[in-house]
Amino acid sequence: MSYVYFPGCSLKSTGRAYEESMVAVFAAIDQPLSELADWNCCGATAYMAISELKALALSARNLALAERQCQNAQKAEIVVPCAACYLGLNKANHYLSENGEVRGKIDQALKSARLEYSGRVRVRHPLDVLVNDIGLEKISARIKRPLTGIKVACYYGCQLVRPYAEFDDQHRPMTMDKLMTALGAEVVDWPIKTRCCGGSLTGTVPEVGQRLSYILLREAQKRGCQVIATACPLCQFNLECYQPEISRRYGEKIDISVAYFTQLIGLAFGLPQRQLGLHRLFVSVREPKLAPLAVEGSHVG
């Protein structure tokens, strides 16, 4: 089946590498993705602070468009890589099915633009799709350069697992850990993997927001982590781009690569660095060695 892909604003600018690597990985496993035509902002956190109904309506328009795009398909599933968009669309789905008052108002608003939404679309995160639909077996079969010897900390952040834990445990998620282990990486034990990165506070109130990022980076560095794998463009931005400022602010040199988990899959697949947007990172990721070729029929005794 084909998935509808919802990029959201970040994946077209600061998080471009996330889009590039995700598209490349899905292509490598022959899984078609079709971008949602004329998608709009999901309504995110900042919008929610002004009008709840309008934020939900923004997401509802996307869901209605996705439903239309999947009209003839058996299932309607939308893949949403940004954690904030993922929550926004998911929240709209939950509110529309659980609250009659919200449903009535949103339906009417959609109707004024000749749109309707029946509630059929399932909101999915690419991490969930890759591990639970495609499966680790199929992913492992595609590995050309296992990430052997690379110490990875798996960062889930907040809105991927909270408040709705759709595909993993809320307190101790393991989906990405399992994926990274399958890629050959060494996953470091880093219990704060769902702690907040500071969100937009890193820019608006840096003395508070950057402290939150610093806590994550410091604890990862202490554990010998070389790469933090992220699943959200804001988490990636915060943990990577403020590293020089954080190092100055807290008097500790922080130097860790922060990559999207899709970039690491692509690396293990042996896809070209540029295709994965690795040239867009501030701290580059060490390229893994090519695995010894397994010759079919040969027997290693």
Partner: protein, 210 residues
């Protein structure tokens, strides 16, 4: 005021707003607010509580008591990064993050949020951009934010901007959707509905305030 008195203010009954708790509780599932047992789990889970002027637990108590002015002008709601740590642990299933959002909306609606504080300004600029074009253009959003709060700070971020630019991560293109009219019609239908329920529809409950 003596130093040891800190931020604590004495409020008399005449200063309380009995409608306030119902206004906040009008969000979907908001009624659970009244079952709060003041256990403090929310404040314990919150990674930002020690930067706040009131902890989340205090905010809930203040909402129930009707301390409208103090809640809406506090920094607490704006420092909430909506990570939902409190919400998922609350033993009474109060959607604390959504309560914080409701307080933010009321504060903006009534114009009582802390002025020139970057967070509400960011929310406002984001809202306007999306209302206009359906998408947010990240780079322009940041430019407006700095101009409106602290233009000098923008210079400090020039280095970061350049690094992003060189890596193709900063786009000056103004993003927009094609069917703006469609979106405008949807949003217009919800004009003035900053909350799910309107203030006029609320019935203040006597004695409900803690």
């Amino acid at each position: 005021m003596n130093k040891w008195q800190g931020w604590r203010k004495i409020r008399y009954e005449s200063e309380l707003n009995p409608e306030f708790s119902s206004e906040i509780a009008s969000i979907p599932g908001g009624d659970k607010l009244f079952s709060c047992i003041q256990c403090g789990t929310c404040s314990g889970m919150c990674p930002l509580s020690h930067y706040m002027d009131f902890t989340p637990r205090q905010i809930i108590a203040m909402i129930r008591a009707g301390l409208k002015g103090d809640v809406l002008s506090s920094y607490t709601t704006w420092l909430c990064a909506s990570c939902y740590s409190c919400t998922v642990e609350c033993p009474k299933e109060i959607k604390i993050t959504e309560v914080m959002y409701a307080a933010k909306r009321l504060a903006i609606h009534e114009g009582v949020y802390p002025k020139r504080f970057p967070i509400p300004v960011l929310a406002g600029e984001f809202f306007k951009a999306v209302e206009r074009s359906g998408r947010s253009s990240e780079s322009w959003l940041l430019v407006w934010l700095y101009l409106k709060t602290n233009p000098l700070k923008m210079l400090g971020q020039a280095g970061l901007g350049l690094k992003l630019w060189l890596r193709g991560r900063l786009s000056l293109k103004k993003e927009s959707i094609k069917h703006k009219d469609e979106l405008h019609r949807i949003l217009k239908a919800l004009e003035k509905e900053y909350m799910v329920k309107r203030k006029e529809d609320l019935t203040p409950v006597e004695g409900r305030a803690a």
